[in-house]
Amino acid sequence: MQPFRKHTGLVAPLDRANVDTDQIIPKQFLKSIERTGFGEFLFFDWRYRPEGGPEPSFILNQPRYQGASILVTGKNFGCGSSREHAPWALREFGFRVIIAPSFADIFANNCFKNGMLPIVVSDDQVARITGRAQYAEGYTLTVDLETKTITDDAGLSIEFSVSDFQRYCLLEGLDEIGLTLRHESDISAYEARK
């Protein structure tokens, strides 16, 4: 897994609550047996018109947000299905950080496994970042996982929390399966006890 230490990138605001994984990547794209190829279908029903062609009003189709790598959005992002295709699609599209007041558990977990950082901040802070990203063209944030801070060029500084273990795995880009396999003797001992 690619390590995550510090990331600076353009911010795209998706000002909606309860965005579910069916919206992030609709089911017709889940038939692939690969881990790649999902980025072009991200938010498919919102990004493309039913008759084909991009939907110009959708935030990610607006020229000013092209190349965004930080998504700021509403509460309970990633609710619904456990499909890891959702973070795969977001990652391939270019997102490495998602900032929201809350995330669905499975989705947040899936992000960490793919070198992506879901950050929980308060409603007010989400509103502030969303406002700035809507107002200032080219608005960027810097996310520093070592210091657990989000900063911009205009004085914003937010501390966030993340579990020590998940932070460590992201910073080092660790293979979690490899970590668990180091405890082979504990696993065997447990199996023998059962």
Binding site: A17, L30, K31, D45, P50, F165, D175
Partner: protein, 467 residues
Amino acid sequence: MPTLFDKLWNNHIVRQSPGEPALIYIDLHLVHEVTSPQAFAGLRQAGRKVRRPDLTVATVDHNVPTTDRSLPIADLTAATQVNTLRSNCSEFGIQFFDINSREQGIVHVIGPELGLTQPGMTIVCGDSHTSTHGAFGSLAFGIGTSEVEHVLATQCLPQTKPRAMRIECSGNLPEGVTAKDLALAIIGRIGTDGATGHVIEYTGEAVRGLSMSGRMTLCNMSIEAGAKAGMIAPDETTFEYLRGKRFAPAGGAWQEALAEWRGLKSDDDAVFDRTLEIDASKLEPFVTWGTSPGMVVPITSQVPDPTDAKTEIDRQAALRALEYMALEPRMNIQDIEIDRAFIGSCTNARLEDLRAAARVVRGYRINPGVNALVVPGSQEVKRAAEQEGLDRIFSEAGFEWRDAGCSMCLGMNADILQPGQRCASTSNRNFEGRQGRGGRTHLVSPMMAAAAAIAGHFVDVRQWEFR
């Protein structure tokens, strides 16, 4: 002092070290075609084996056709996914219930009916509705594909302990009000993120009174409230269900298992992080009106007016949902007309669900404007229903009687809504486009879906004239 969840958790700790998540042992890993191919590919790439193929069971459910099974799968990408699971299971020595096997079905339906699902177990699957299995007093939760690979390789998962929440359901559900309505009522009350980070234990008279089928429906929908898992302490109902099931313990092992299972309950003085009380005797049949399972009201009420929303976020969400659903504020739920009805899914496609729907349907014809499907949860459910003649009741009424699979719950196969179509569905999610792009889903119980298919609009099944 410990809760049922505490007991299950403590029984499965392989390793616990300060500052790290606990390493939890997994007793049963269920696998299906959609979320597993990349996990097997990862194993192969890293040169790893499946640690416990004997604790791993696979089937195909999400993208299989529900029509003529003697034909090859017409959708080539779906066929590739099914073939990939078949070859992965063969390569890694995993028991696989293939498309034409007698045991095939929705993974959350076949686990219990084969007796694979048992009290006290930890169960995972790359599917959010794994919470279903908690109905047996197991700790069961959905995982992503990276975690599927993790479990295949190690039979363990690093996990941070969730918090415990108790939902006490007092009273008894009135006639015509089901476990599905109870689940929808709870989600309507606490919201789709109301239980995020928590494991729910359902308790109370209403829960004790539910059959295993109803308990599975209730636990199944836990994820729609954001919960990590839902569970119900096992009791005589649980044991009666499991007795004699193919993979359930037998003989002396059965007696030993019973002795152990009887201890699987929260202590009287157990402490929960949160508690919610709900009076089941006051509930009505529920119908969702929006694009999230929390957007739900009783059948006798009206579509909410967004101007009444408590917060600006809720107001915006309601406006957007009403536009998508093409509904007007304050219209009667019973005036909403439907084009399709779907009776199926891991939520409501067990034999008891089909019996309840058939009881409503018997002697009626579906409305000429409605197309309706019944998709049994498994081949076993299908055979049992046919033995009772339920298939004839549905077919004579104009329903299509299909083969087992997830079908129109998520529309990965050919069973989808057309844009603008409105469906009374016994499934679990009414998200935008869930059953097909532009499709409009209303979540209801099997009886309510059957009644709506016949009337052509939603009706209060408590007033139904059974024939």
